[in-house]
Amino acid sequence: MIAFLRRRPGLLPLLLLAPAIAWLVAFYVYPAIQMLQASLWSGTLESGFTFSWANAATYSAALGRYSDQFLRSILYAAVSTVVCLALAFPLAYTIAYRAGRYRTLLLFIVIAPFFTSFLLRVLAWKTVLADDGFLLGPLKTIGVLPEEFRILATPVAVIFGISYNFFPFMVLPIYVSLEKIDRRLVEAAKDLYAGPVRAFQRITLPLALPGVFAGSLLVFIPAMGDFVNAELLGSVQTRLIGNVIQSRFLVNNDYPTAAALSFMLMAGILTAVFIYARVLGTDELETGIG
């Protein structure tokens, strides 16, 4: 075996790659093909499913029936991405330029939430934001807020939860971009009589764009598929497309509709990413991901 490889060294990388690639083909690519097929099934779990191209009507039926949830997912994901960006940029900026010897500690705190269970974190926000919890309760007692004021079970709670969960994914790429900037460029701008604001606008911000781009994708894509925040922090009025896919698959066993919705979700995400890449320029896409 080793002697054979010595004669054909070109084969070694392929041999090293083969197990991982084979696994991904079997359990990532092939299931996707299966799901495409399942979207064209008809029948039930008990009687078995049959495939026919005529079942393409499932797509239009599903889109018609769940367009509200689709639009809501896009809206919530977009708002969460903007909220994350606004909250993350100043933090990433501080860590990159102002943190000094606390830099490692601050970076560690940014990823600390990932060391606690995802579901427990969402439930912790449910405790904090509760109608009489320790945030709203005191404010209601002193009369700043009306008694019927609530955050839980509103879109605000769901967007808040989504933003919290994916916040580190926005901070880290922006931090990496900022950290790479040659600070002499900013000094040069100031030598050329740019004020701090102008230097930020013309030097720091454009050079941080790859990080902003990567961070936005890392927040937007998982946010589009969320159902946990919507389920635990929201109400029936905040159901997202993820909730529909989850319940069609696991509660109703309506595989064709669920599979069709999953495909349309994926297509929607790819379209959004493509438009975003076009607007910002594809260079950012490559440096952001690669």
Partner: protein, 264 residues
């Protein structure tokens, strides 16, 4: 003046951001000491150590933790092995189709978890006859290995990028064959990268809910247990276990970075 204001506003903001990041972790730990009335554990009643003393008094909780740890362990082992081999190939060798391979490996990371889980469920339904392919610990394991492979490849590849090939050439010059060079020079040098990838894979697996939800059937992992009890009220013991996981993970990272620093 403006500068002073800017600097302190940024400092105050950073403080608030840190509170925002850490508050849920604190709440999870705090409510493991709560003594709730009834089943829901959302309002603070009083301090008690009872739930820590009777950590596994809740039926099914211990089982779920054991299942989660077992799945995390095996999936980390498999994914780290397959992923490290692939990462070596991608960093060390030039071959046709390398950029396409990199892109392909990145794709599962860019796919929302719900779609990964849903497509695996469809696969298991499609290959079985009705009722269908049994969903159990084995199908969860397949799912976890699948998403972990890409994470491991990306992590190990990032660590390998700064690798100095001249060390291997020196080893060859001193008469070591390819196998000896790999085990005595290459492997010890890339071990921290592999360990980091393994740690990431383990923590992703033990905490995964979305993909597990689709591939678990009746098997209850720890996150599945949390989800199941969320409707009727999460017992404080669950918070205690979440706190233990947090402390163990933070310690592992701290020890890892300490060892790294001592080597350097």
């Amino acid at each position: 003046m403006l500068r002073w204001l800017g600097r302190n506003a940024l400092r105050a903001y950073t403080g608030l951001a840190l509170v925002y990041l850490l508050l849920p972790i604190f709440i999870v730990a705090l409510f493991s000491f709560n003594n709730p009335v009834g089943k829901t554990n959302y309002t603070w009643v009083g301090f008690t150590l009872d739930h820590w003393a009777n950590l596994f008094a809740i039926p099914g909780l211990l089982d779920s933790v054991v299942i989660s740890i077992r799945i995390a362990f095996i999936s980390t082992l498999v994914a780290t092995t397959l992923g490290t081999l692939a990462a070596l190939a991608l960093v060390r060798y030039q071959f046709r189709g390398r950029p396409a391979t990199s892109l392909f490996i990145f794709l599962p990371l860019a796919t929302p978890e719900i779609i990964l889980g849903a497509s695996l469920l469809t696969l298991f339904v499609a290959i079985g006859k009705p009722p269908f392919f049994p969903l159990n610990e084995f199908t969860i394991l397949i799912a976890h290995i699948t998403f972990n492979i890409s994470y491991v490849i990306v992590t190990v590849r990032a660590r390998l990028a700064g690798f100095d090939r001249r060390l291997e050439e020196a080893s060859a010059d001193l008469g070591a064959d390819g196998w000896q060079t790999f085990w005595r020079v290459t492997f010890p040098l890339i071990l921290p990268g592999i360990a980091a990838a393994g740690l990431l894979a383990f923590s992703l697996s033990i905490d995964d809910f979305v993909i597990t939800n689709f591939t678990a059937g009746r098997t209850t992992t720890f996150p599945m247990f949390v989800w199941g009890s969320a409707r009727i009220g999460v017992p404080p013991q669950v918070n205690a276990i979440g706190t233990i996981f947090f402390v163990v993970a933070v310690s592992a990272v701290a020890i890892g970075s300490f060892l790294q620093r001592r080597r350097a």
